[in-house]
Amino acid sequence: MQPTHRSSRILLPVRMGWVWITLFLGLTLNLVPTRALPGVPDFVALVLAFWCVREPLRVNMGAGFWLGLLTDIGYGSALGQHALAYVLLAFIASTMSRRLLWFPPAAQALQMVPLFLMTQVVMLVVRLIAGAEFPGWEYFFTTFTTALLWFPAHFVLLLPQMQPIERDQNRPL
């Protein structure tokens, strides 16, 4: 597989170990106490969406569901809140996979904004129905910081699949 479908560079096949490590790393980063700083990116959503776009046959709604449950428990929020949002995110990301991979990473990040926004809105709606108070508009900053991180994530997460470009001077083609 290539980094994007337009690229002529061939990547090594993905290792599932790396996928799971990055997902749990995202979960750990999400649990870093940030003292109510506005706009802390949602790392699990980012990594999950990334692998759902890259490998929709291996990482999909199941991973979203279980990671969502773990996030819920880590956050102390309503059980099922993140699970619901991440399942929807995984579903839509895997649907978009074929189209999205034709774009360069920056354009992909732009197209991920509505998806991350939807994740936030789903969680907001769930909690508002349950009777929580509105957390303020800075709640939506997370969407944009997460989408901004898509661009660096594209290179960091694909790093183990990159192989050095061999320049063979004697190659006829």
Binding site: F24, L27, T28, L29, N30, L31, V32, P33, T34, R35, A36, V40, P56, L57, N60, M61, G62, G64, F65, G68, L69, L70, I73, G74, Y75, G76, S77, A78, L79, G80, Q81, A83, L84, V87, L88, F91, S94, T95, S97, R98, V126, R127, A130, G131, A132, E133, P135, Y139
Partner: protein
Amino acid sequence: MSVVGHQPPPFFKRGLPASARLTLYLVLSIGLLVADLRFRYLETVRHGVTVLTYPLQIAASTPAEWANRTYDYFSSLSSLQSEIKRLRARALDDAKRLLREQGLENENHQLRELLAMRERVGARSIAAEVLYTSRDPFARRVIIDRGERDGIEPGLATIDNAGVVGQVTRVFPLQAEVTLLTDKDQAIPVKVVRTGQRAVMFGAGGGMLELRYLAANADVEPGDVVVTSGLDGVYLPDLPVAKVVRVNRDDARGFARFVCQPIAGIERSGAVLVIGRNVKPLEDPTANDPAPDATTPGGRPKRR
């Protein structure tokens, strides 16, 4: 397994179609949400799975804690010295009151004996430090650095040097979660000091509190101090909670709106005291199920 909109040829082994899996997971998550938010069934499950996320939480919070400690270490000497000076002055001030308190306590004890009243329940307290604010943006909760191991139980009150901060809602092995009074769902039974009027106080959003279920003509004025009533058997009585800042008496509705400002530094306190009663509160004598009698009327006790 199949990707949405791209069906594999039927001779490959396929799982459920994507839309079916989506429905399944959505139903599961919504079921969990209802079970948790509406019926509160899942507290034990949550407590169990905490074991899984706990190492991750520790891994996440340790570097942040180190960073904080390093910052504290390099914080300027002068600020520490001024703090020491302030604390010394405060200690002197407190000592004066503490010396008198011993005398007052003895006097109180004697007076209560004279009146044949029950002794006031004693208190036990555990000092703790607020580690961080919970990541959930919809609730106002903090995590403190004492847990099950230190004898913290759910339901204990948390106070700082000025007044009540909140209540312990979840207990983990090494940490506990305190729901602050300003949380929308957090209620605390209180009374107004000036009149003795009892009421229930809720979080009102924006860091304020609200007295609810008081009649529109209730005798509450701005500036009144509100303390815990201790009627619930959870909070100790007479802990300062809030000061009334605004009263809106709207004749159209039966209730007035009493907006209060918390006395404790709820959103900014660092060191807190988890405080509880020494003895469990008595069972509610008016509860519906009568306790099984040891003796039948007129007969002998069954066992001696």
